[in-house]
Symmetry: none
Subunit: 410 residues, 2 copies
């Protein structure tokens, strides 16, 4: 069944509010075998009518958010009633619930709020314990040609929408759509490979399985999305794992930093960081993982040469001889952090983030990344010419992946 | 002129990626007097064609994101050429730029990547220094009835899209939409106040000036956008400055971290950081500012108690008596970082990011932020109950603002 999502709300189009509805619905619908085929945002007010008719002509299930509030530009209920030629009635039970809500909060109820108890007579009320506007469900109604879609009118605020979707929309949809336990989705996250290279290596083989395929690239990372039968997804995963040994970060949407923290925790090992060009971004990524404190013994942001010497015991003669952005300094930084903290591993970064500071021998984008461990220190040189923040992101990612590859699989 | 935004990308409809494009375009178009009237998301592949034609029938400016990548489901270029009956050519300059990009990165270029140099012959190339796919602009083309809209085909990844919008899309649109020299926009960035409070305090007075108003709230920050005549905007700015003395971070869209680095540089003062709960995010924000190295002497990420003692000389008895999340420890951390680095100022953070670690006395979201300076140390206690990353963002923001308020205005 085809699903259309219609979000109404001027604030969404002004960018004041990010649209998180799509994610909410996508995650709720996926287990039912349903996908959103098209999503539309229109402002509050009159444009909703045309958008509704348009969505209804395309979808068998139409989900509408917003426009159920008390103000004059909240017209979703009326637009639906007019379109489907349904009588509007005032729902006494809803009115009582709204009145009780105002009493509880010691607020005066206005005639505008009473409007929120109006509904097309054929609509089923979806209770809203978190706000005044109930949701409404309309089963297919006869039209001049055919029938209207299954229509859900839902509140816009996420804290009201989220419980209504899980408590009422999903259970209603379960009665409408045939069960499909056979379809699975898997996201294979690969590090250090490019999107086009991935498709070239495995695209044809995956398509031969009749998998639905998607690629999503981020700096230094590609997600391969497989959707299909349980067996086909398992075969697809084997193909990707075989083609890129070592590059698979996760098959369960865990972020690289989470994988690294999990691997360290599982092997009871610890980590320290020594950052120059990433300026704290590496420690920041690691500490976004809840529980990172179990494995992360400390981080040093040593932008200045004096800080490298003071905090990481980098020999000033190394800095003088090779410059701060060099293999020996990256090595000394990582070893200094490891020695100082007693961690099993230490990662260091030193590079030229730009826009200034580049030379002929070391252009903006040049970076040295070192991993110090009991067995010795490994240093890699990379080149990530880009804006400052992307540069930092890529260096952090590459450093984390250097460590991931050094850790035994859990 | 009516603007339609068409986002293509299966990952957007699956909810794997939030749609941040709407905000990006809304903010970029606003100063031109343009608004997005309707936004549509469709999956990669064939659906783009119908969505394009539909958007073109409604808008005079159509912005399309995504579908310019190297994989087979990236079909935006071809869909446009087919729809407008335009010949596809391979652009030699674009091809050379893509090849150079691959050479710089020491990667092999595939025939799939070469496809990204194809374009409808009538299209103007919008260079993409941050990725392989250039953007394309197509001026109105004759159709069976009338003309096609001004059409922009743009890359999906935000790090490529964002600079292209500011460097190429906005300048192109400036030549298309009538100039409005009489109208000015000013963005007043306020720290430490809430959106509804701001509107309550100054909304009526600003509207009385017949200013068009916009509010944009982020964690711990509100932008007030004023649009109107030069005189009215100046009057509006005076009203906001008067209502929130000290809260105005910038009137020129400079970020808080940039304002802080600029103020430090102007007064030739220096800074160090000592982070527990923010885990490097404070140093990361500071070092996103190009030239931060002039003022930033070093940062310590001291998650563990041992690190606080080892690197910041926090007395273990303080930790034992008050716990790591306490006013005395925040104070000792800041003073330790300041003493160790010799910086004029040091900021410290220690708090409970959650989800675990909260107690009755110190719930998840509790944080102490200290600023050490020559004249003494100031500690603030705050409570930011939220998800881990929002918590970090708010703590970083509040710490930077604590420093900003201590610095003399430039």
């Amino acid at each position: 069944m085809r699903v259309e999502l219609l979000n109404t709300g001027t604030e969404l189009l002004l960018g004041s509010v990010l649209n998180t509805h799509v994610r909410l619905f996508a995650e709720a619908l996926f287990p039912l075998g349903l996908r959103i085929q098209r999503q539309v945002t229109v402002p509050d007010g009159p444009p909703i009518r045309e958008a509704l008719i348009d969505a209804a002509a395309r979808g068998e299930i139409v989900l509408v958010t917003g426009g159920l509030g008390p103000t004059t530009d909240d017209v979703t209920r009326e637009a639906v009633a007019e379109w489907l030629h349904l009588e509007m009635i005032r729902d006494d039970a809803v009115l009582a619930a709204i009145a009780a809500r105002f009493r509880r909060r010691d607020l005066a109820m206005t005639p505008r709020n009473a409007r929120q108890a109006d509904r097309p007579h054929a609509a089923v009320v979806l209770p809203n314990p978190h706000g005044t506007a109930p949701g409404l469900y309309l089963a297919p109604q006869p039209l001049d040609a055919g029938f209207s879609p299954h229509l859900f009118l839902l509140p816009g605020p996420p804290r009201e929408l989220q419980p209504m979707v899980s408590d009422h929309v999903v259970p209603t949809l379960r009665q409408i759509v045939p069960r499909r336990d056979d379809v699975q989705m898997r996201v294979l996250r690969l590090a250090g490979v490019g999107e086009s290279w991935v498709e070239e290596q495995v695209g044809a083989a995956l398509l031969a399985l009749r998998l639905e395929l998607g690629y999503c690239a981020r700096p230094s990372e590609v997600d391969v999305r497989l959707i299909g039968s349980v067996n086909d997804v398992a075969r697809g995963e084997a193909i990707v794992r075989g083609a890129f040994p070592g590059a698979l970060v996760s098959a369960d949407e865990r972020a690289l930093e989470k994988v690294v923290v999990d691997l360290l925790a599982a092997s009871q090992q610890t980590l320290a960081t020594a950052e120059s060009c990433t300026g704290g971004a590496l420690a920041d990524r690691l500490t976004n993982v809840a529980g990172a404190s179990r494995v992360f013994l400390g981080g040093f942001v040593t932008y200045a040469n004096e800080a490298k010497t003071r905090d990481l015991a980098v020999d000033p003669s190394l800095l003088a001889a090779h410059g701060a952005v060099s293999e020996p300094v990256a090595e000394a930084m990582a070893e200094g952090a490891r020695a100082r903290t007693g961690a099993d591993f230490a990662l260091s970064t030193t590079g030229i983030a730009g826009p200034g500071g580049g030379t002929d021998a070391k252009a903006v984008g040049t970076v040295f990344i070192a991993l110090a461990a009991a067995g010795g220190t490994r240093v890699e040189r990379h080149f990530f010419p880009s804006d400052r923040e992307t540069f930092k992101t890529r260096v952090v990612h590459t450093a984390l992946d250097l460590l991931r590859r050094a850790l035994p699989l859990a």
